[in-house]
Amino acid sequence: MAKLYAELIRIRFLTMLAYRVNYYSGIIIYGINIGAYYFLWGAIYGDQQSLGGMTAEQMTVYVAIAWMSRAFYFNNIDQEIAQEVREGKVAIELIRPYNYLSVKLAQALGEGMFRMLFFAVPGMILAGLILPIHFPPTLGHWGVYLLSLIMAFIINTQINLLTGILTFFLFRNEGMMRAKRVVVDLLSGLILPISFFPVWAQTLMGFLPFQVINYYPSKIFSGAIAMSDVAGVLWLQFAWIAILYLPITLLWRRARRNLVVQGG
């Protein structure tokens, strides 16, 4: 089975390479985003030294790290599922001796690895030359960050699987998927660090899985979370993975029963 998933990851890698223009435009889009937030925060800070406990410099670094992390955990698996359901392609997936959702997860990983290797890593090196980024000092720090990033990827993909599976019941849910994308970007701390939210909102967000997708991994990267507290974050991520597993399994079982293959 492991071989199969390695092959799926490889195939996704090749497919990403086949669309080189998408790759280049992806780099430009991320560049624009990071640049825009850089200047936006520069304007917000103005002459002030620090806001919400972060200096302008820390904020710049935070933005860079947050977007680079996103390059890895982000994927459009839900839209792919939606498209396969709408076009009836899901039929082809169901005649294969594998678990559809695991395959989607593997494909998402292929995509994430591609963007990490060809985009986030060179991007980070470039950013390191311009910005005063404090890279994790030891191999242990790197390892912990990567672990939390992988868990962030799993949680984000689980959320995508959930919204994707809903297509089996709703048939058209682009609106919901678009809303989900904005909610994840906002509540994961990509657009605004969690510490900038009002206290009641922070409390509320503590009950949601979004902040472990980006905010905590990015803080681990920048060293804002002490190594002694890291275990707590990792456990929290792990708990979310376990919690999200349940509705996915239940919904998937119902989806299989409800499936209507579109178009003959």
């Binding site: 092959e7 195939i11 090749l14 086949a18 009836g88 169901l94 001796p97 178009g263």
Partner: protein, 336 residues
């Protein structure tokens, strides 16, 4: 090998109300209509059979195939294939079947068929020497070696369809489902695919189930035919029996050496149930209803009594039969 009993599939279809007010009401309260796509279908298939499932669009063929391949869950009834219940043991079951959907590609659009084959070999765990040899044989017999290194999107439909068939057989399944495999293909490609399938059925004893609109497919390949209409099974048996039941009967055209009045011939064939039509003074057409028993009798008695210069036996084609079935049904639909 395949056992289907009292199979049923009910779909709930959303009925959209008309107009803006209707659309607004739909937001809060949706109306559904239930449709029985497959209604109490039962049949059995033995290993090594080559059989066709035919019927009009919307007769329930595709739904039946999708339940048999484990894609859809039946509302009621039972299916057992190769010892599995498809929708319950899907992942194990699908290893023993191959499926080709004529309308839907299973190859990766942007990659070459070779890449797809490789992935499928991984999926079905047939990467060893045997798997390679089998794939080489498929490539050779389907004659696809010349273009399997090009991206699928650059292939013609005929080239792609042959690759699809190779892809569906990569794990040497015992059972192959073909859902309208020859739609839109030219005669030569059809010919090639049919030859390949016949060969596969004979040499590997692969059981093949075909749904098709193309009557020539059935005539070229299948002995057994299942006809579905409005979700119900209306015929299950040999193609020849189908011809008996729904065909226009057989026509024999005699060309005589001397003038034969029709009445005289009628007298000769008096006891046989048949219709006679005089073409001209020398030629008579005889239309038989139950052709299998009648044909030899009529032929021998006419040939024994008269000098005949030419005889033509015209069987009704499957195409006529299908048209007959459909026209009868549409009459029923009008009356009902």
């Amino acid at each position: 090998m395949i056992k289907v009993s009292q199979l049923q599939k009910v779909f709930r279809i959303h009925q959209a109300r008309s107009g803006l007010a209707g659309a607004f009401r739909d937001l809060f309260n949706r109306q559904y209509k239930t449709v029985k796509a497959v209604d109490g279908v039962s049949f059995q298939v033995e290993e090594g059979e080559f059989f066709a499932l035919i019927g009009e669009n919307g007769a329930g063929k595709s739904t039946t195939i999708k339940m048999m391949t484990g894609i859809l869950t039946p509302t009621d009834g039972e299916i057992t294939i190769n010892g599995f219940v498809p929708y319950k043991q899907r992942e194990d079951y699908v290893k023993s079947i191959g499926v080709v959907f004529g309308q839907r590609s299973q190859l990766w659009w942007d990659l070459s068929p070779t890449e797809s084959f490789r992935l499928l070999q991984r999926v079905y765990k047939v990467e060893g020497e045997d798997g390679k040899r089998w794939l080489d044989r498929l490539v050779e017999e389907l004659d696809i070696g010349g273009f399997i290194h090009q991206p699928v999107r650059k292939l013609s439909l005929g080239q792609r369809m042959r690759c699809e068939i190779a892809a569906s057989l990569i794990h040497k399944p015992k059972l192959l489902f073909l859902d309208e495999p020859t739609v839109g293909l030219d005669v030569l490609v059809k010919q090639k695919i049919r030859e390949f399938l016949r060969n596969l059925n004979e040499s590997e004893r692969t059981t093949i189930l075909l749904t098709t609109h193309d009557v020539s497919d059935i005539e070229a390949l299948c002995k057994r035919v299942i006809v579905m209409d409005q979700g119900k099974l209306i015929f299950d048996g040999m193609l020849s029996d189908l011809k008996e039941k729904w065909g226009n009967g057989t026509e024999i055209a005699f060309q005589f050496k001397q003038r034969i009045p029709v009445a005289e011939l009628r007298g000769l064939l008096g006891e046989y149930p048949c219709e006679l039509f005089a073409e001209n003074e020398y030629a008579v057409r005889v239309k038989l209803q139950r052709s299998r028993e009648m044909l030899p009798l009529v032929l021998s008695s006419v040939m024994a009594s008269y000098e005949v210069s030419d005889v033509k036996v015209m069987e009704s084609s499957t195409e006529d039969i299908v048209r007959n079935i459909y026209s009868v049904d549409s009459e029923v639909a009008v009356n009902g």
